[in-house]
């Protein structure tokens, strides 16, 4: 089963991956294992591919370090839902093909450890017994996600989306 990992507001990039775990400093380490290694060690130990992060406001604030969302991607995080995201983290995640959903409602109702089923093509997320519609992504963003990231999009199309 896949589950919800619930986080509070203002989760910063140092919590997602501490600077001392930068690939630049530890090139031989598995970046996915460094995700939340100090801020939430049980995530680092137990997160499974397909799990979903649901957080309060301003998820990903702080640094431009793209290895923060990359660590979550390598860990298999299927989507991140929050009422708002920090700007650089939002761009980095979309560029990497991680679906981010801005939603007050889902962030309010989701509880830590909820069983979760994500149906991206249908735009739905099930939390325990309840199913919710995911907010529709802007076309530009959807095109990048569909391509599996902006690098793939640009490679395939020879131009930026839009």
């Amino acid at each position: 089963m896949t589950r919800v990992w619930k986080f509070g507001a203002n989760v910063d990039t140092d919590q997602i991956v501490p600077g001392r775990y930068a690939p630049y400093l530890r090139p031989k380490e598995d970046l996915g294992r460094a995700a939340f290694i100090e801020a939430r060690p049980e995530f680092a130990e137990n997160a499974q591919p397909g799990d979903v992060i649901v957080a309060d406001r301003n998820f990903g604030c702080g640094s431009s370090r793209e290895y923060a969302p990359l660590a979550l991607k390598k860990r298999g995080v299927a989507a991140i839902v929050a009422p708002s995201f920090a700007r650089i983290f939002y761009r980095n995640s979309i560029n990497l093909g991680i679906p981010l959903f801005v939603s007050d409602e889902i962030a309010e109702v989701a509880a830590d450890g909820d069983e979760v089923a994500l149906d991206l093509p249908a735009g739905r997320i099930s939390l325990g017994e309840q199913t919710y519609d995911l907010p529709e992504l802007p076309r530009f963003t959807q095109d990048i996600i569909d391509a599996g990231g902006i690098v793939n999009f640009v490679r395939a199309n020879g131009r930026f989306p839009g």
């Binding site: 501490p18 100090e38 604030c61 431009s64 530009f140 839009g162």
Partner: protein, 414 residues
């Protein structure tokens, strides 16, 4: 069409008028890569995008400033990769010791009024100090600029900060930057560009301190209009000016006449209080440096305060100049000597301990008062350490006593 500075700069770059919310593809004037992300930028460009050579070497600048000089064989090898790449591609590189990219690009006249300067470091918003549109991006965005010459941008809304009055003695621009974090919060300007008005009298280092912390409010950019004293150093394009008819979706005001010294408490940049609320808190480390507060004037402020005095035996004081030029200035008069005599450790020019990778990494037990821009848990080392943020004057006063102290007390004594 009445436009904010950000809208003017992006309109000029794309060749037609833009409005907030527009998605545009622009050719930035400069795309900076720093040592932490440049190896991954090269990897994305070459291995993922399949592009061997950069589109325009003149558009690119590289800096080795975050772990400078290298601390391990791994970082040394990564930095070798950057040097080899720069040589092969004919790209300007500012190597270890030259200083923090955000300082060096201003010194070298690479960031100038009206330019679009994107960088792989989040504090690239600091280029707004000279009236550039500066903004931080991740590795993939910068790799795409190197490969294609272009980047996509959403034209941001502009938030206006209106400053009145003048700093009282013992209060400086860092206190203004922290007050904005306090009033607007860590997400108060997310996706926005900030325009700072009422500061034509403010010197360039002060503008750099202020613009560097725009990202701490979530902003995409923070621009001080290139008017007043520092504008003399730069050529300001005639199309770039504060337009009285421009639309700001929100205005916040700060009155410097009543501003007290501010301190951000652990572990958030917006956990800001008047210094009096945390006065007396014991600290074990004081750090003066970073792109926010590592310039000559910051070191000078601290040295003036500490002249003829010795810091507390319970404190280690780290001072890291922002660039070799700033360090030279501090060495040319008695600034560095005064800090050394007071008991400070001087680090190599660069980012220093700010992000916990080298030079003064914090232990489990440490409580640090830093002049840097962030105090997130574990940023400067152990996740058990605690970081307070304040001005260089507060840092000097705190180093003297080993407790968070009000510099105005010391100034009255001297």
């Amino acid at each position: 069409m009445n436009q904010t500075l950000t809208e003017q700069i992006i309109s000029h770059a794309v060749g037609h008028p833009v409005r907030p919310g527009d998605l545009v593809i622009v050719r930035p004037d400069v795309a900076m890569g720093h040592d932490s992300l440049t190896p991954s930028i090269i990897e994305i460009m070459r291995d993922q995008l399949g592009v061997a050579d950069v589109k325009d070497p003149d558009q690119i600048v590289l800096a080795i400033d975050h772990v400078a000089p290298a601390t391990s064989v791994d970082t040394a090898n990564m930095q070798s990769t950057i040097r080899t790449f720069a040589k092969e591609q004919g790209i300007r590189l500012f190597d270890a010791g030259r200083g923090i990219a955000h300082q060096v690009l201003v010194e070298e006249g690479i960031a100038t009024p009206g330019r679009i300067v994107v960088g792989s470091d989040s504090h690239s918003c600091g280029y707004g100090s000279v009236g550039a549109f500066g903004s931080g991006f991740g590795s993939t965005d910068i790799a795409l600029v190197w490969a294609t010459g272009q980047i996509w941008l959403r034209v941001p809304e502009t938030l206006r900060v209106l400053v009145t009055g003048r700093f009282r003695p013992g209060v400086d621009v860092k206190d203004l930057a922290l007050k904005l974090c306090r009033d607007l919060t860590i997400e108060g300007a997310t996706y926005d560009s900030i325009e700072y008005h009422g500061l034509d009298w403010l010197d360039l280092p002060g503008r750099q301190t202020l613009a560097s912390m725009a990202v701490e409010l979530g902003a995409k950019a923070g621009i001080v209009p290139p008017a007043g004293l520092p504008a003399d150093r730069f050529e300001v394009p005639d199309w770039l000016y504060v337009d009285p008819g421009a639309h700001y979706y929100r205005t916040v005001t700060v009155d410097l006449d009543t501003l007290e010294p501010q301190v951000a408490k652990p572990n958030s940049v917006d956990a800001v209080v008047d210094l009096s609320e945390v006065e007396g808190t014991e600290v074990s480390v004081v750090f003066i440096g970073t792109c926010t507060n590592g310039r000559y004037q910051d070191l000078r402020d601290a040295a003036n305060f500490l002249r003829g005095r010795r810091i507390s035996p319970n404190v280690r004081m780290m001072v890291t100049p922002a660039s070799s030029q700033e360090m030279e200035r501090a060495a040319a008069d008695d600034t560095l000597a005064t800090l050394l005599q007071a008991g400070a450790v001087i680090g190599s020019a660069g980012c220093g301990p700010c992000m916990g990778r080298h030079q003064g990494t914090l232990s489990d037990e440490d409580v640090c008062l830093s002049t840097g821009n962030r105090n997130f848990r574990g940023r400067m080392g152990s996740p058990k350490s605690r970081i307070y943020l304040a001005s260089p004057l507060v840092a000097a006063a705190t180093a003297l006593t080993g407790r968070i102290s009000d510099p105005r007390d010391g100034m009255e004594r001297s």
